[in-house]
Symmetry: C3
Subunit: 326 residues, 3 copies
């Protein structure tokens, strides 16, 4: 593994999941691995779980973690090649990234999409430019189109649950990704990424359900069953992953605020007593009801706490990859 | 001790003071205690001394301290049960706190009052909700109505002074909490808390003086002598604690900006060569005169530096409490 | 060395450069030196390289580094003696600095000039007040008129280059500081400081070139050749240091935005294949052309990465100075 940007950086998902669960069982077992190494966490956008879980994971590996809020403590970066910088950007990624690569052994970066220009967002220029110029491994803390640490966490959480409570019927679990209402347009990152990872993992019957107009990019969903009928989708589901996203086709728009798509206990009746997941933050009683979040089917706290082990498995793998460039 | 929110969490104030002074004499004696443990410092409001002294204290105990500015690096939290979150709050404390409790062994939180709704502020909903959902010990870095780390520091500072310079007369010291002028309404936290701790400590003759209209909540002041006559209060005082606060009854209002209440050397003449204390930050020549702050009677720097030992004693106690939940 | 504010704090520049290059060869050789010591980094203004390189340097010496954004996480400080603080400032440096001096073994501070009042900026009141009241060694992370960590880095980078590629002709290198265009008025700090250090170092033929009206303060440039003819200045240069600055005489103003002063490969033809330096951040194609920054003559990444070794040499020297007050 040279970087951790998408599922295609990972050669063996199950091995990475196994590594994460081993860290959960023994958090400090590799504390010597990161001695005298440093990880830089660069934020162009806010973060709570991703920031803290990555700091915690790095510390458990004995690394020094340094957080830098580029947006607040630094200044606006330029990413366009050949730009004449007479506007609001103060420093080019071509100058900032190689210097940061000298200060740190691994760089992590969070950068959100604009939701205004699809071509630009989906080109992943920001994170690609960082990788191009940093000279050290780069970990995505969520980019314009993907959130791989979240998706790895999600598979860890599903696998962990199945290890403790195997399906009675045997066979593959049915996993449903369902669109949820929200009050403003959100990125497609978590949904794209979840679809990409579940498809690559290949150990589930995977169904995506959303109102018309919310089709995700086919390159991420290819292989999944897609339906606009939430009831049909939920039938016999073992896991329901709840998430809002804005439109990909009519880019960044909200077509529907159909509150009937919010998951409730009543809807859960149709499932196989499904466990409910969400990446957080969640707007209660808009995206997901109190009754589900506070009820026995919710995995959200366990899921969020597993963020630590996902980050720790990824950092550890980059530290030990012969081609990691470290 | 399960949490550290008010004096009622402490079974033996003098034992805690003694512990703090032992750390002052030997800061790193318990550096092994916090190995592989983490403390999270969450700020919903600005802080200088509280933030830095708590970080320093944690590091001296060998813990990793991670600071998170919820207000600036994160997003607005919701604290109301059952809220339909279609407004400005992005995440509920019921979802955030348990996750933070998985990342950290101890959580610290600072949250100021609105000064608009007394009932709400005095319900201490924010910090109570955190304690309810965090699942790990919580330390108040100042809440809506109290500032216990400051008050513990104040008693440490008084005790330290008396150990080095016992009162000639013997008996209890006379401690006066006096209101001071300010240019805008401040919380009652420091004053409430000082009153609560000095009363619980019980080793002082305690007088509170303020202009009419600035009565503090009786549940904190009960047991103290209260007077509107500052001169009478200052007479023979051994310690004068200076602080502005806004009205409790006509909640959050400033009734008086009577500059004659500012402590001066002239007023100090009436005291028993009293030592002067203030929690800082202080507006010079508004709350307190240069002549006092720069003169021989001021304890403010020593007091502020003692914040480290107060925090260290509290963290250490939580780390070793059998019921601390750690 | 008691503080690190200007070149006059340094008794032997070459010894400090040597120490820095030794750390570059073996970053962790003095990791025991800073054990149980703490360095506080206070920012009144934004920073990227200075902040991160100083954190990295401190960690490599085994110190705990704590960053505090005074401007964002704290509140406005007052620096005027005798101020009646009934305005926007909340705490006086006379109260904040001694407390910080109790929490930390070394304090670092960054504070920019206003560019409005020359007398005030050039009095360096902010950093002088900090030194006066802190009671521990103070390191400038850039002040109103100087940037000594940058200038030490610049000499380290020049020396390092010359060690690997000695001048064919022997003798002293010709070093040119050239003004560059910008879109807004910048401080004179980096240019003042570079001039001061190169003059004090004494191992170069030093030429400064700028358009009329951009004369720097003589106390820093005294000893250098000054010309308004950039072509003449660049002739046979071995190093070209590129930087924009606003006027010193007509204080803080931009007199010219003459884009012909931007360094290009064409202009480099006149030099002795000169190496090009810049402190970063640089506005590409305004201050410096892509062709130079991306070409073989640029030292900017190496220069910026050397910031770590400059900071490490300075911190290490302060930690071991018998009069360092630590």
């Amino acid at each position: 593994m040279k970087n951790f940007i998408s599922v295609s950086d990972v050669s063996d998902i199950n091995a990475l999941v196994k590594k994460a669960l081993e860290y959960k069982a023994d958090p400090f077992k590799d504390k010597a691995l990161g001695a005298n190494k440093r990880i830089g966490l660069l934020f162009l956008n806010p973060s709570l779980r991703t920031r803290l879980s990555t700091q915690v994971a790095a510390q458990q590996l004995g690394m020094e973690a340094i957080v830098f809020n580029v947006d607040k403590e630094g200044w606006a970066l330029e990413f366009e090649e050949g730009a004449i910088m007479n506007g609001t950007t103060v420093e080019h990624v071509k100058d900032a990234a190689p210097v940061l690569g000298k200060y740190f052994d691994i760089l992590c970066i969070r950068t959100f999409p604009s939701l205004k220009n699809r071509e630009e967002d989906y080109s992943e220029m920001y994170i690609s430019q960082f990788i191009k110029y940093a000279g050290v491994p780069v970990i995505s803390l969520e980019s314009a189109t993907l959130h791989p640490l979240q998706s790895l966490t999600d598979i860890i959480t599903i696998k962990e649950y199945l290890l403790n409570s195997p399906l009675r019927a045997g066979g593959k679990p049915k996993i449903v990704l369902t669109w949820a209402p929200h009050i403003k347009p959100l990125p497609q990152c978590v949904s794209n990424s979840f679809a990409e990872w579940i498809n690559a993992w290949g150990e589930a019957d995977f169904v995506i359900t959303h109102p018309e107009g919310y089709e995700l990019a086919e390159k991420f969903t290819k292989g999944a069953t897609i339906t606009h009928d939430q009831d049909e989708a939920l039938k016999d589901a073992d896991f329901v992953y709840v998430k809002n996203w804005s439109a990909y086709n009519d880019y960044g728009k909200m077509h529907s605020s159909d509150t009937s798509w919010m998951l409730t206990n009543d809807k859960l009746q149709q499932t196989n007593n499904a466990k409910v997941m969400h990446c957080l933050p969640v707007r209660r009683n808009v995206e997901l009801s109190d009754e589900i979040l506070d009820g026995p089917n919710s995995l959200v706290t366990q899921e969020a706490s597993n963020r630590v082990w996902a980050a720790q498995a990824v950092i550890s793998t980059l530290l030990t990859s012969p081609k990691g460039g470290i």
